[in-house]
């Protein structure tokens, strides 16, 4: 019992010591993490399953009917794998909905929160593009 208490205290210390780092996640400074945008009818052009981050490129028609080439990043394969992502989760030509935190610069770039496929399946990026609540839930489940 004493040993287990020591272990649990150590776990508490770790989480206390590291909690700030979760909310100062690398790369997010360029993005507006308070404004989540849903981009519907996004046609996938490429999906790079790679380090440091996976990259999804897709086309969206703007309000004037012009095609805008978007780029969204997710966590690395190691980071999003536990959340169901694989190299085959999406393919060029597929039409999806992309939930994304957009770059502050106003360019068509962002951090992906999740994508929703045509068949309704959702793939969330909790480590990089997750909301604070989503990250806490993942921690409770011991995923991240």
């Amino acid at each position: 019992m004493k040993g287990k208490l020591a272990v649990m205290l150590a776990v508490v210390i770790v989480f206390l010591a590291t909690s700030a780092s979760v909310f100062a996640h690398h790369g997010n400074v360029a993005y507006d993490m308070k404004d989540l945008v849903a981009l519907k009818n996004a046609t996938v052009t490429k999906f790079f399953w790679a380090n440091p981050h996976n990259i999804l490129t897709f086309d969206i028609k703007d309000d004037n009917g012009n095609v805008v080439h978007w780029v969204g990043e997710t966590g690395s394969p190691a980071a999003v794998g536990p959340f169901g992502w694989t190299r085959d989760v999406v393919h060029p030509g597929e039409v999806v909905t992309v939930y994304i935190f957009r770059a502050k610069a106003g360019t068509p770039v962002g951090i992906i929160n999740k994508i929703v496929l045509a068949d309704g399946r959702e793939f969330k990026d909790v480590p990089l593009g997750g909301t604070d609540a989503e990250r806490e839930e993942a921690k409770r489940k011991g995923i991240e």
Binding site: G3, K4, V7, A10, V11, I13, V14, F15, L16, A17, T18, S19, S21, F23, A24, H25, H26, G27, V29, A30, Y31, M33, K34, D35, L36, V37, A38, L39, K40, N41, F48, W49, A50, N51, P52, H53, I55, I60, D63, V71, P77, A78, A79, V80, G81, P82, A103, A105, G106, T107, V109, G110, P127, T131, D132, E136, K139, R140, G142, E144
Partner: protein, 279 residues
Amino acid sequence: MRHHLIPMSALFVSALFISSILLSQTAPQAATAQGKAASAEAVDPHDLSGVWEAPVRVTTGNEISPMTPWGKEQFEQHKPFNGPRMIPLEESNDPMIKCDPLGFPRNLFYEIRHMKFVQTPSETVQLFQYQAVWREIWTDGRKLPTNIGQPGGPDPRWYGYSVGRWDGNAFVINTTGVDDRSWLDVYGNPHSVEMRVEERYTRLDHDHLKLTVMIDDPKAYTKPFLAQPGLVFRLATKGGVAGMVAWSTGELPEQMCVPSEAANYEGLVAAPAAGKTNK
């Protein structure tokens, strides 16, 4: 068509931290029935075998000592994309962006994920998932080299030179000679080649391994400090994760920083995210 969703609410710092800590304490115990039984399983504390799992990021910053003038100069030159001084990745000079080695002991604080030990009578080899690197920790009684980086002395190395010994149930590793091109951590804290690092690994029970890391670097810091007061690794019970499948439980998944992939990322994402033209 673009729809703006409800703006994100402010962070609930104290309540979330506390609740997550309370709930996360129960998660390891409730994980599996096998996990609970395994913790009670007898184990030789000198047996470090197994794939050990830790959070991705467990950074320093809590106990950093004041820096010397040399240390401050290095610190100011380091432009991190993490932490309180973070800037957009496109503007950062963090060496890991171009897939330079994380180096030691930074790889104990960042992208930890999984590691394992292979113990032999004369050395212990530590293997890391990130970048598939290893360290040789000599336990044959040899002394650490001296004059590293000096004329006639051995070259600094990204993962230094290490010797190990047992102090009761703690495996103690002393390291020096780390190439000072690496950063101490994601915040851009520096270190010199003269830095001496002492790790202590203690197997708490069958499923848990505790690590402490002490830094002694008089060239960069005014006094030694405990960079890691107690990181607890958990024995991994699954064979890798989806998307990075290990062949079997007991194997480290491969995770490489590939320069061509890093360059692709910089051109497609990092530069335009910072408002710069796609390359």
